[in-house]
């Protein structure tokens, strides 16, 4: 499992500013089927819609329980969009692609007729 590709440094990604770059954090808890599904779904969405301008950090709360409080994590899996601001939380295994796109503001609600 991929985890903690960058150290848990809150300020680092913010330096990038808001230039269409997506910095995402996926919180999971252990190697569950649901976690794996979420990761797969996320990569698929990102590759499809955000190729080349995204970064995913996966945090396993089983190994780093301390981090759950910081991002107000309750549900697992939770995807947090750190950038662009504002911060967004998307919960669930990300199987509903339409709602993931709305949640990440990749597809505006206006796109839906």
């Amino acid at each position: 499992m991929t985890q903690g590709q960058s150290p848990f440094d809150e300020s680092a990604p913010d330096a990038d500013g808001d230039n269409g770059y997506y910095y995402l954090r996926l919180y999971v808890a252990g190697h569950t089927a649901r976690s794996m599904a979420a990761m797969t779904n996320l990569r698929h969405v990102c590759e499809t819609h955000l190729a080349g301008r995204y970064e995913i950090e996966v945090i396993d709360l089983v190994q780093n329980p301390r981090l759950a409080a910081g991002d107000q994590i309750l549900a697992i899996p939770t995807l947090v969009r750190r950038l662009p601001t504002p911060l967004k939380r998307i919960i669930g295994d990300l199987s509903d692609t339409e709602r993931v796109l709305v949640g990440l503001d990749i597809r505006r609600k206006a796109d839906v007729p």
């Binding site: 919180y27 808890a29 649901r34 599904a37 979420a38 779904n41 709360l61 089983v62 329980p65 301390r66 759950a68 409080a69 107000q72 994590i73 309750l74 549900a75 697992i76 899996p77 939770t78 911060l87 967004k88 939380r89 998307i90 919960i91 669930g92 295994d93 990300l94 199987s95 509903d96 709602r99 993931v100 709305v102 949640g103």
Partner: protein, 562 residues
Amino acid sequence: MPPEPATTAPSKSATGIAGFDEILLGGLPTARPTLICGAAGCGKTLFAITFLVNGATRFGESGVFMSFEERAEDLAANVASLGYDLDGLVEAGKLALDHVRVERSEIEETGQYDLEGLFVRLGYAVDSVGAKRVVLDTIESLFSGFSDTAVLRAELRRLFTWIKERGLTAIITGERGEGLLTRHGLEEYISDCVVLLDNRVIDQIMTRRLRVVKYRGSAHGTNEYPFLIDAAGISVLPVTSSGIDRPVSNEIVSTGIAGLDAMLRNGGLYRGSSILLSGVAGTGKTTIGSHFIDAACRRGERCMFFVFEEGAEEICRNVLSVGIDLRRWADAGLLRFEAARPSLYGLEMHLARMQRDVAEFQPSVVVVDPISAFRGPIAEVHATLLRMVDLLKSVGITGLFTSLRTTGSLHDGTDQALSSLMDSWIKLMDIEANGERNRVLYVIKSRGSSHSNQVREYRMTDSGIELIEPYIGPEGVLTGTARITQEAREQAAAERRQRDIEQRRRASERRQDALERQIAELSAALEAEHDEARALQLADAAHDAGLSRDRSAIAARRGGAE
């Protein structure tokens, strides 16, 4: 970890909340979740916080407070007024605070999820301080954050199981819902112990109450108990829990008024008994109460004076005018005044406050002045006073209760209802006659002791209350000026009688003297008569002898010559 009290069935964790542990017969069930529910503002969070703070400071059990509503810093500020230093406890590693923010608008649901994050956070917080106690306040907020209630319910069930498995003693709070104990039916999942808090406003006075709805595997107090939240924290009042059987004392305590003591066969009242002092306005109820306190303080006992109509300073000044100096006892720490307006709290709040103050000060004499200040439905007032009396008796405190009667009639409804609670009942009255008002008192009853049946007049003098020797005459009991004039009248009559008798005695003596003189005179006359008689007799005899001698001389001469 502290040794759990070795009870039978479920072991218990004390909350350290005065009175609450008594109702729970020890505390909340250890390693079980307890539901505390109630409407907004009835003290759920405070109960929970107190449970944790006491756990950390008194029972050596660390705790975790997971708040779903208030932020940790708000929480710390809110309970700082009660003297709880949450930040200090957090720094000392005895408490962990975690604020769980649930914001529906920020959350997009995109498929299946569970609440493992909550478990992770709770587990982490528990491990970080080695917690034995956990509070989840108010976990139902989750229902507003997640749309999939089926998942939520399953997760809550799992959470409560997890709490048991981890051996955590937990308090879960919940808002009261329509027709349910909680909005989302949490009571369905937490079945070990459910406590319901309530706050009711009757006649603009709010009273907090608490009831243990259930406690699996343990007996518990079943009534609604009032509780109090003030600067000293929470106090719950299991007042009716004590039975009638209690140790009794044969010791007699003085009322502080010599004449009144004398009216009671034992020379006073039993220690630990309850005395009702009822009377109309201005009959000196407070003064007699002050006498009682003064006497106790002189014996070196601690006294508590609950006053509901005057301030402490006012009372001190007023009774000083009859020579009772309460101020010095207060200064010496033997006497404590507790003054409050009756309308400040509901009846039960007053009771709660009194119970706490009494427990704190440990007095041996308590005076409540007056109980008639308590307004409300008669049954409720009666119940409250019963508990008040009960409370004092259970710890052997002598209680004097004054009661203002609005009518001057001998028997008034309120007193009558109260009298059965009291061991002694002294009634003060005023009698209006001949343009003046006089105060009298009598002892209606005194359990375990005979007492005078007399109605006695008393006066307030510079040196306190004085009972006056009763005037009982052919015209009945008289008081005041009538008594004085009657006494004067009687005295005059007595003097007159005395003079009369003296006169007659002297007249009689004179008559006796006269008679005696007469007797003496007659005796003298008699003696003279006797003398006369004797003289006559002698003369007679001499005459006879002379005659016979003459006759014989004549005969001899005649015979010789012829």
